[in-house]
């Protein structure tokens, strides 16, 4: 079996588990919805309506959702020690990492679409460049999971994993969140060149941390 096939197998297994018991997806959707509403109310509708603030609130909510989805995904692996069988396979570690990334990006796409619809509706946002906004959105869900999955693997089987993962991953993810926020805000205001520039940065981060994760994961898991 090739590395690509192993990756697809892990991703399909992850999505099947999520379909059977969608508690990660449901929790992330609910949490994101609550967060968008709470943050918007905290700022006040007038403030939260501004493209820069609306984008920042949205991407912070997506970041929390990504952490929630990844944590739930690995909780499932640990419940019956299913992860051990994957880790002993040849190429299992890389396949676990890449497969999780693919599956989590798909789950996160659903969460992000729902959160975007909620933000656009509640904050009455005008989108000047729909295509650019979608591009930043797609790149964002590719850029955030590599770091969260990697730090979750590092904190695997540690008691305080739920607290440790955000502590380790959020400082590393600051550039990605800044770039996604700026790119989305530029798309809302109609600044195509700026939006594409930030989208390029998000894509570079997705690539760098994706490759770095694949390189370092075999050494990271004992």
């Amino acid at each position: 079996m090739s590395a690509f096939e192993r990756t697809l197998l892990i991703a399909a297994r992850e999505l099947a588990a999520e379909r059977r018991r969608p508690d990660g997806l449901v929790a992330a959707l609910t949490f994101t919805g609550v967060l968008v509403i709470m943050e918007s109310l905290a700022f006040g509708p007038g403030q939260a309506h501004q493209p820069g603030i609306a984008s920042a609130l949205f991407w912070i909510a997506v970041l929390f959702a990504a952490t929630l989805v990844v944590t739930r995904s690995f909780d499932r692996e640990l419940e019956d020690d299913a992860i051990d069988a994957i880790l002993v396979l040849e190429g299992g570690r890389e396949a676990l990492y890449a497969g999780k990334l693919v599956a989590i990006a798909i789950v996160l796409a659903i969460v992000e679409t729902a959160a975007a619809a909620l933000s656009l509706l509640l904050l009455d946002l005008d989108v000047a460049l729909v295509g650019h906004l979608a591009l930043v959105g797609v790149l964002g869900i590719l850029a955030l999971p590599p770091v969260v999955v990697l730090t979750t693997l590092l904190a695997l089987r540690i008691r305080a994993r739920v607290a440790l993962v955000p502590i380790l991953s959020f400082p590393i993810l600051i550039p990605q969140v800044v770039a996604c926020t700026q790119g989305a805000a530029a798309a809302l205001t109609g600044d195509a060149a700026t939006s594409l520039g930030w989208a390029g940065i998000v894509a570079a981060f997705a690539l760098v941390y994706g490759v770095l994760g694949l390189t370092i994961v075999p050494a990271a898991i004992e």
Partner: protein, 233 residues
């Protein structure tokens, strides 16, 4: 396989001398910074915090680079010595970075009028500080020696790769921070000769303190590693 750390370690011989040198040079640096260096024409005596702030800045970055080297060494060779180097440098680095931020804040209030500003250099330093607190937290929560060393080493590598990236990402913000004073592109240092000499001695003294602390901390860590490996055997 993980080797024992029982072999003689060179820092055992140099540690007392490092301590003597560190304390002696610190006393000289204190005298030069507070008495010998002249008062600044613009900032008055407030500028003297530069003799603490700049050495701490240099050592904060050096310490985390050493963590990176120790982390790579562990991942490459699995020799516990490298892990001891990484944890020692990380702890001293966190201490010095915390002091660096506090010293910068104390200097910022009379010169900029605020304790803190969202300047790229300040933000990068604060993020670096948080990353290494996370590094130490990860270490403290892992119980198995090899797992702890490996997990921490991965964070040690990622964190140092991330620092220049984070710095670049926040450069779009306007900077209040002054340009480099000593290492300026195409020019001599923008410091009076006496001030420059006092700064040089301060950097040397703080560097010796860093080496001393790291050597002491390493010896504690190596002894702890030996106990853990003996208990496991």
């Amino acid at each position: 396989m993980i080797e024992s750390t029982a072999a003689p370690f060179p820092t055992i011989r140099v540690r007392p001398w490092l301590g003597v040198l560190a304390i002696g040079s610190s006393l000289i640096a204190t005298f030069m910074a507070l008495v010998w260096a002249p008062t600044d024409a613009v900032q008055g005596d407030v500028y003297r915090i530069i003799f603490v702030h700049v050495p701490l800045a240099w050592l904060a970055y050096l310490a985390f680079f050493v963590v990176f080297v120790g982390s790579l060494g562990w991942l490459w060779t699995r020799r516990p010595w490298f892990d001891a180097l990484a944890v020692a440098s990380a702890e001293v680095g966190v201490l010095f970075t915390g002091m660096f931020i506090i010293a910068g804040s104390i200097w910022a209030k009379p010169t900029w009028g605020v304790w803190w500003t969202w300047d790229p250099r300040l933000v990068t330093t604060a993020i670096m500080f948080m990353m290494y607190i996370g590094y130490l937290l990860l270490r403290s929560l892992s119980t198995d020696f090899a797992q702890r060393a490996t997990r921490a080493a991965v964070v040690g590598v990622i964190a140092v790769v991330d620092i220049p990236i984070v710095h670049l990402s926040v450069l779009w913000m306007n900077s209040l921070h002054q340009l480099p004073t000593v290492l300026r592109a195409g020019g001599s240092p923008a410091l009076d000769a006496a001030m420059g000499a006092a700064l040089g001695v301060s950097v040397l003294a703080f560097s010796l303190v860093y080496l001393w602390f790291v050597a002491e901390r390493m010896s504690i860590e190596l002894a702890r590693q030996d106990r853990m490996l003996e208990a496991r055997a």
